[in-house]
Assembly symmetry: C2
Homo-oligomer: 306 residues x 2
C-alpha cells in the first residue's frame, strides 16, 4: 500500500498563518568536506541561522566585481532582458539574475572556494547554483525588501523539498545603518512561518518587485523578533553574509546617496534538487530557479578577479 | 530712496538648484540665559548642526509620554482631525501636529527646561513654539521621510525670515539601525540648498505625506554627504536630538516590528517671527505653523509626567 508523504512545510493554503517547527538539520556536515569554517563559526551559524565573515574578499577583488556589476546594470541589453528587475515606479535596475552565467567574473565567484567550500561543509554534499543575482539598492530611491524566508517561496513556487540550501551575500559596497542593510532574525531559521493566501500564476513577475503572497504575518514576525531580536548586518565591502534558506530577513529602503550593492549566490544540495512546484503551479523561469541541470559546481583552485 | 532687501535664501524659483552659504549665526548666545549646554556641547552643536544628549528623560517619563501619544493616536476624534496625518496608502497615523496644545502632558514638555533652556541658550532670545508634533513611524509599514531642510520649507511656505529656530526630538522608543532612525548630515546647516520648482497652493496637504517641492537635488545631497558623512541617530528612548532648522535630515522606512515614535518641539526665536509666505502663497494652517501669537513660552519649574 502506497502512503502519500506528508509535506511538513505547508504554506499558502486555505489555512491561517501558522508556525511550524523545522524538521531538517541546519548543519548537515558529515566530515566529507574541508573545514572551511572552524567549530565556533559553525556553531554560530547553526544557532543563529547566519554568519558574517568580515573582509573575506580584498578591496581589489571587490572593486573589480563592483565594476563588473555596474557594467552589467548599465548594459541596455541586460537591462532589457528578463534577467533584470527594475525598481517599482522607476527604470533603475534593482536586481539582475543568473549573473554567474551572464558574466565570466561572476561565474568564477560562483566557484570560489571561499563560498562554495562553506556551502559544501554546511550542507554536507555537493552543491549546485539554485539562483544567483546581483542586488543594487540604488541611492536616494532604493525601496525596501519586506520580510521573507527564501525557503517559503522556493518550497512553494520552485518545489524545493527541504531546508538544505544556503545563501552567500558578498557586500560590494559598505553596508551601514543609512543605506538599508540586510536585517536577519537570529534563530528564525528554526521556525517555518506558514503563510496565508493562494499563489496566483506567474506571481514571480510581480513578487520580485513587491511581494504579495508568501508574506509572513505580523504576529509571527513580532514573535520571532521578540525571541531573537533583529541583527542589522552593518559591515564593510568585501564581507560575506552566509545565511540559511529559512532565516527570516528583509531590508529597509535607502534614501542615502550610497548604493547598496551585493551579489547573492544560492547553493542548493544536489540531494535537495527541485521537484515540481506545489499546487500545480507552473515552474518559474530557469534564471530564477535552476531546473535544467543539478550538476555539482566544481570549486576553482585560484579564482582571479582583478 | 527705498532699497528692497534681497532675500539671501531664494528657493523654488525658476532658477536651477544652487548651494548658498548660510548668512546667519548658528549659536546666537549672548550670555543672557542659563548655560543649559556646556562649552563642549555648544561647540559640537555649532560645528555639526545637531547634538544628541542620551538619557535626558527617565524611563518613567518616557513611558508616560509614550502612553499619552499612543492614546492620542488611537483617539478617533484626533485621527479624524486636521492635526493628524496618515501614512501614504494606509490609515495608520503617521504624525499628529500641535500636540503641545492637544495634550496637557505634551504642553508641559513644551515648557520643560531641559528643552526650552537649550533653545533659549542657542537662539539667544525668548522662544515660542513654531510647530509641535508626534511622529509615529509604525512597525512593518512606516514609510521614509526624504531628505529636507526644515528651514527651506519654513522660509518659503511660512515666511520664516532667518535661520534662528531649533528642533528638539525626544525619542519615545529606542531608535536603532532597524527602525529607520533619524539621519543627519553633519555640517549641512552651513549650506542652504536652494530647490527647483514652484510651489503649488495648499502644497502642505500632500507634502506632509510625501514631499514633491522643496526637495533637494541629488547632486547637492551627494556633495553634502561627501563633505560631512551621514549620522544615523541610534539612541535609546529618553534621548533628545537637538538640531538646527537648516540641518539636512531624513529617515528610511521601517519594516521592523518596532514603531519609531518621537515627539518634536520646534522653537523659533521671538526675534525671528513669521512674515507672509513667499511668492504670494497662502499661509499654512495654524497647527503647522504658528502665526496667531508669538508670545514667549515660559519654562516650567518642575514639569511632571508620570
Amino acid at each position: 500500500m502506497k502512503t502519500a508523504i506528508k509535506d511538513p512545510y505547508v504554506s499558502r493554503t486555505d489555512r491561517n498563518a501558522a508556525i511550524i517547527a523545522r524538521q531538517d538539520p541546519v548543519v548537515y556536515g558529515g566530515g566529507r568536506y574541508a573545514a572551511a569554517l572552524d567549530e565556533t563559526r559553525l556553531a554560530d551559524y547553526e544557532r543563529d541561522g547566519f554568519l558574517l565573515i568580515e573582509g573575506l574578499f580584498s578591496g581589489q577583488e571587490v572593486a573589480a566585481l563592483l565594476r563588473e556589476v555596474q557594467r552589467m546594470s548599465a548594459d541596455p541589453a541586460i537591462a532589457a532582458s528578463e534577467e533584470a528587475v527594475t525598481e517599482p515606479g522607476s527604470d533603475a535596475v534593482r536586481s539582475i539574475f543568473r549573473v554567474h552565467e551572464l558574466s565570466a567574473a561572476l561565474g568564477a565567484l560562483a566557484r570560489d572556494p571561499r563560498l562554495i567550500d562553506v556551502a559544501r561543509q554546511i550542507l554536507g554534499s555537493e552543491v549546485y547554483m539554485h539562483q544567483s543575482r546581483a542586488n543594487m539598492k540604488p541611492g536616494f530611491k532604493g525601496k525596501e525588501f519586506y520580510w521573507h524566508s527564501d525557503f517559503e517561496t522556493w518550497h512553494v513556487e520552485d518545489g524545493m523539498p527541504g531546508m538544505r540550501a544556503i545563501s552567500c551575500s558578498l557586500l560590494l559596497t559598505d553596508n551601514n545603518a543609512c543605506n538599508g542593510p540586510l536585517m536577519l532574525v537570529p534563530g528564525s531559521h528554526m521556525q517555518f512561518i506558514s503563510c496565508k493566501g493562494k499563489t496566483p500564476e506567474r506571481h514571480y513577475e510581480q513578487s520580485l518587485k513587491k511581494q504579495e503572497y508568501g508574506v509572513p504575518d505580523p504576529v509571527s514576525l513580532r514573535l520571532l523578533a521578540e525571541q531573537g531580536g533583529i541583527k542589522a548586518m552593518e559591515a564593510a565591502a568585501g564581507s560575506v553574509i552566509f545565511f540559511d534558506c529559512n532565516t527570516m530577513h528583509g531590508s529597509n529602503g535607502n534614501i542615502s546617496p550610497w548604493p547598496r550593492a551585493n551579489v547573492f549566490m544560492v547553493y542548493n544540495s544536489v540531494e535537495n534538487a527541485l521537484q515540481p512546484p506545489k499546487y500545480g503551479l507552473s515552474p518559474r523561469p530557469e534564471h530564477i530557479a535552476t531546473r535544467g541541470s543539478f550538476e555539482p559546481l566544481v570549486p576553482l583552485e585560484a579564482p582571479a578577479y582583478a
